[in-house]
């Protein structure tokens, strides 16, 4: 499929930012498309991994931050594993997610950044994750109250999900790491 670059502000420094964050140089990409052909979500997305790399190579502007693949990539790393040039596509996708949150790119279905924030908040609070707390906060944030409500009674009865958070973690390192990050 041809890659069409619309009239937009190019050379926004995105390529450089991706390189700085991920440490990955995408210059060696041959467009063999093994990443796209192996990607489990290729059939579900409009923009494929190989197109992301090509647009980066061309420094073709910030519009790729709004690509559906950015928040539909499952980080399965098949792309990296099969790349004949050993380009760490998975880390490139991480960098694009980090930049898209920073630049406030368009929110996408599922609001994964909201989930990520609550995940990290619960480990800051308890040192470990707390599923029920995280799920409740995410549901409030996305108004998805009724999704999976049929499953919780069964999961609680089977003790397949913990009712209370764990208080056994020593938060010394976690607090320090998360504080440093800010």
């Amino acid at each position: 499929m041809p890659i069409v670059i619309s009239k937009e502000k190019t050379d926004t420094g995105l390529l450089q930012s991706v390189k700085e964050i991920s440490g990955v140089d995408v210059a060696g990409c041959l467009q063999c498309k093994k990443c796209t052909n192996g990607c489990p979500v290729t059939a579900l997305v409009k923009v494929h991994p190989s197109e992301i790399i090509r647009r980066l190579q061309l420094n073709a502007g910030d519009s790729i931050l709004n690509s559906d693949l950015v928040w539909m990539c499952a980080s399965c790393e098949t792309c990296f594993s099969r790349c004949p040039m050993q380009i760490d596509m998975a880390s490139v996708m991480d960098a694009l997610r980090i930049i898209s949150v920073k630049k406030n790119a368009a929110k996408q279905k599922g609001n994964v950044p909201l989930f990520n924030r609550w995940f990290l908040k619960t480990i800051n609070m308890f040192g470990r994750t707390y599923d029920l707390g995280m799920i409740a906060a995410y549901k409030v944030g996305t108004s998805s109250y009724f999704q999976d409500t049929d499953k919780f009674p069964m999961m609680l009865q089977k003790r397949k999900i913990a009712l209370f958070p764990s208080f056994k973690a020593d938060k010394k390192y976690v607090k320090r790491i998360l504080k440093k990050k800010r």
Binding site: L44, C76, T78, S81, G110, I123, G127, T129, I135, R176
Partner: protein, 289 residues
């Protein structure tokens, strides 16, 4: 045999069954597993989505605890395993990262703690002979597909677990237990992993393809080695049947639960009552063997 054992957060919640089976199996095989006191979350996917240093510092904090105990680290959760292996790899190969991590932790970590998956401990450290001697039951007549998922085998430079496209370590464990491990093409496909809550539509698509292939291969059950894979394939099976008009009824069990059954441990002690798709036919078959 003595190891530091990192259960991972899911062991206290959605994967208590995995935790129970590892505890029982290691007790039966004289493997001493000591949890580093006060272990914390590895950061999983949200950490590497957010910040590279964060995603390496969080596992490094736990590896530092194991280093102070002077022990190798044993992990079962594929996500924790992957993050710890990547952490060691990054710290060993990138001096700048090592410096940044020691700034973040306030202590230097050199990336030297060996990290093993529990299945690796069974095959490589306990060994086939000792396992065969310990088994009182067998998986004779049982067709099993082994599902490795993504994070054990990838990125292979860092995890170095097995062949990244066609791993065999779980298959050999099933064979030792007397089961028929089926060769199938979806061993290392992705189940949707971290999208369990945020994008269940993606989980349904990807898990449907895995379950479909398992069914076509004639599997009576699927053995897994990752808590995320287990919950996606087990808990979502009814949703998949509804949305995709399928009729899957494939028990998704931890490979350690099968090992436990072969060691003569009761299914309750292995947490097998927590499976959503009932593993009763599997349990009955093994107990009568």
């Amino acid at each position: 045999m003595k190891y530091a054992y990192y259960p991972g957060c899911s062991a206290e919640s959605t994967a208590r069954d995995q935790y129970m089976s590892i505890r029982e199996v290691s007790k039966a095989l004289d493997i001493e597993l000591i949890e580093p006191k006060g272990w914390t979350c590895c950061g999983s996917t949200p950490a590497h989505h957010t910040d590279r240093i964060l995603s390496i510092a969080l596992p490094a904090a736990n590896l530092l605890l194991a280093k102070k105990m002077g022990l190798d680290m044993v992990v079962f959760c594929a996500a924790c395993y992957n993050r710890m292996k990547v952490t060691n790899y990054e710290i060993q190969t990138n001096p700048k990262i090592r410096k940044e991590i020691s700034d973040s932790l306030g202590e230097d970590y050199d990336g030297s703690v060996n990290v093993h998956h529990f299945v690796e401990v069974l095959i490589k450290d306990i060994g086939i002979k000792k396992l065969q001697e310990a088994f009182t039951h067998s998986l004779d007549g049982l067709k099993v597909v082994n599902y490795y998922g993504c994070l054990l085998v990838r990125p292979h430079q860092a995890t170095n677990f097995d062949d990244p496209e066609n791993p065999m370590i779980m298959d050999s464990l099933i064979t030792i237990m007397g089961g028929e491990s089926i060769d199938w093409p979806h061993k290392v496909e992705c189940c949707g992993g971290g999208f369990a809550l945020t994008r269940t539509d993606i989980v349904i698509e990807l898990s449907n393809s895995i379950l479909g292939m398992a069914k076509a291969a004639g599997a009576q059950c699927m053995a897994v080695a990752c808590p995320m894979c287990q919950i996606n394939l087990d808990l979502r099976q009814s949703d998949i049947n509804k949305t995709k008009n399928t009729n899957y009824d494939i028990p998704i069990v931890y490979i350690t639960q099968l090992v436990g059954l072969c060691l003569g441990i009761s299914p309750e002690k292995l947490g097998m009552d927590k499976c959503v798709v009932s593993p009763k036919p599997i349990i009955d078959a093994v107990i009568s063997n």
